[in-house]
Symmetry: C2
Subunit: 354 residues, 2 copies
């Protein structure tokens, strides 16, 4: 690792940062030429000069002042990501994919958590905007605050993620949730002969009613299934646990369940097993999200899988490439057949860790 | 929401950012006075003048240029966090606590993931350092790269998290892992009468051998227990699953297991149940971490709990307050008794979501 040279100490012997001027002096060029080498333009620099400047930078241990460059270039190469809850396995996987997609494009993510609180979310959006992030990625919360993104034309471009439907004038990304719900209920009815299917879901988001409710009802009508109880609880393990406990305690457990998130399904599985309910024999279930966490419950979760990698790539493209007209992007979700529906057991994919 | 006024459009009618000069002009003060109002100094400003400047800022929709301020003030109020794997429930909870602790102190986190790859980690540390973060929080990977943090005196202060032991010249934070392991094995021996306890763990980290191996061996010696197999697999669900499969397939499953992380324990539980092994009757287990994810397995994980909130607070204090001499900070871990060890069932704490 480079140690500071004499040139990086001031008269009192204190370490100071090597500046562009130090590099220019040592290389015998102007500070402008140093900038051209660093920024690969705008003016051309003779290859041998550029070579000499780079050698001096390395020798002095020069680190470009990122903050100063950001000010000059008008970009911070930073994106803000506001999450509701990083412990929800779907949000965690989407955040991981967003970080990978950002990193692949030379961006860093400032990550902040709203804990599902609209006021916190609003504050975070304002703070990140004030930091001159180049774009905002929002997984927005609740139904109380319908449009969290800034509308000022001077504010950074924004993508709303985990959106069940369009929001006027916005880039929104989400699953085709109604279709996923239809596939889940259809699978339980057609493949496993279930006649009464309940629904566990969270509070409505920006699109209301949640399209998963619509899809569940559609499939129930189409397959002459009876509508089981509709349980609304928080989008979390605890929410799913509470919903299933209530079904058990009130004697209203249907003969199948569609659970609208893996986070909730993990809690539902725990509550059913604790109460001695056999999954899938007594109560098969299909969840929504298809996270890797759902591979490790026993039985593993059959699930409508959201394509998080593709969603993350599109989100980054929308923020970092040419502006396009805001619209909703719905991604198809496909059923991943594991065990909780009654399909034959499939061991977790253990060949690799990811 | 404020809409741009005429003063924020250029001659071609394009929207442009309101500058400090615009505010100064409209308020009839110098740009220096605007700065003093924004930064609360260094020179005093008459209350009525400050009031007028603030009113003009609000009217024009002025947003201080964060990048320019960072350059002037020499601080970005940003900390870098490098994680190995955001899907590991312990890392996810620690990251969440760090974000809360940072937010409470007025800092934002730039979060990046190394995927446990030392070269990626090194690149991320260099990038974050180049961004002039005010400090670095590292959950470092593997045994191949023993000290990931920059050593240059011009680089930001750094705290190494999830450290099982001291690293010379570093602020390090970690659990008293040997003690937690001793408590786990002692509980299985004394309370549940288990005579042969195996260990599932990941590869060594910065402290080698992992103190959990030391603690497991200590307790085995102290309680005249037989040392069961020692399985080393990745720190993940998949790693735990593979370790347990191997124990089952080779007929070497001991009569109890200490599993060194909740991530692995979730995989172990899944593999044992899949093979028809009764937990806790045939093979009780105690894990390490004590995450909320461990509340939702069935049976729930008895676990040596790491105090993530306290660890996060100390990490932030070390980075943001007066410099102290680098040393190791070991946090006590206490056993959380749930079900996987054979203690009576305890339902998840469902009163609140967190």
């Amino acid at each position: 690792m480079a140690t500071p040279t004499d040139g990086t100490r001031d008269d009192a012997g204190r370490v100071r940062r090597v500046t562009r001027a130090d590099v220019a002096r040592a290389a015998g060029v102007s500070t402008a030429v140093v900038s051209y080498v660093m920024n690969d333009g705008p003016r051309p620099v003779a290859p041998e000069t550029a070579e000499r400047v780079r050698a001096v930078m390395a020798e002095l241990g020069y680190r470009p002042n990122f903050t100063a460059r950001a000010l000059n270039l008008g970009t911070t190469h930073t994106l803000g990501l506001v999450l509701q809850d990083t412990l929800n396995p779907f949000f965690a996987e989407l955040a991981q994919s967003l970080e990978r997609a950002a990193s692949a494009r030379g961006y860093h993510l400032v990550v902040a958590e709203s804990h599902g609180d609209p006021a916190t979310e609003q504050r975070l959006v304002a703070e990140l905007t004030g930091r001159q992030v180049d774009g905002l990625l929002l997984m927005s919360s609740g139904d109380r605050w319908r449009d969290p993104a800034p509308r000022d034309p001077r504010d950074p471009p924004t993508v709303l993620l985990d959106c069940a439907g369009p929001v006027a004038g916005r880039h929104t990304i989400g699953p085709d949730a109604a279709d996923g719900a239809r596939a889940a209920v259809t699978h339980l009815a057609q493949t496993h002969g279930r006649r009464r299917t309940g629904l566990v879901i969270g509070p409505d988001g920006l699109a209301s009613p949640d399209p998963r409710i619509v899809g569940w009802r559609d499939a129930i009508a189409a397959h002459r299934v009876i509508e089981g109880p509709l349980m609304i609880e928080t989008w979390s393990n605890a929410g799913g646990y509470r919903a299933a406990r209530r079904l058990i305690e009130t004697g209203t457990l249907p003969d199948a369940l569609f659970v609208s998130s893996d986070a909730q399904a993990i809690g539902v599985v725990r509550a059913l097993l604790e109460a001695g309910v056999d999954i899938p024999r007594e109560c098969p279930l299909v969840s929504f999200d298809g996270t890797r966490a759902g591979e490790y419950t026993w039985p593993a979760l059959t699930s409508a899988r959201q394509p998080v990698g593709e969603m993350a790539d599109l989100a980054l493209d929308l923020l970092t490439s040419e502006r396009s007209t805001p619209r909703h992007h719905a991604f198809p979700v496909g059923l991943v057949l594991r065990e909780s529906c009654g399909c034959p057991p499939t061991p977790p994919s253990v060949a690799s860790d990811h």
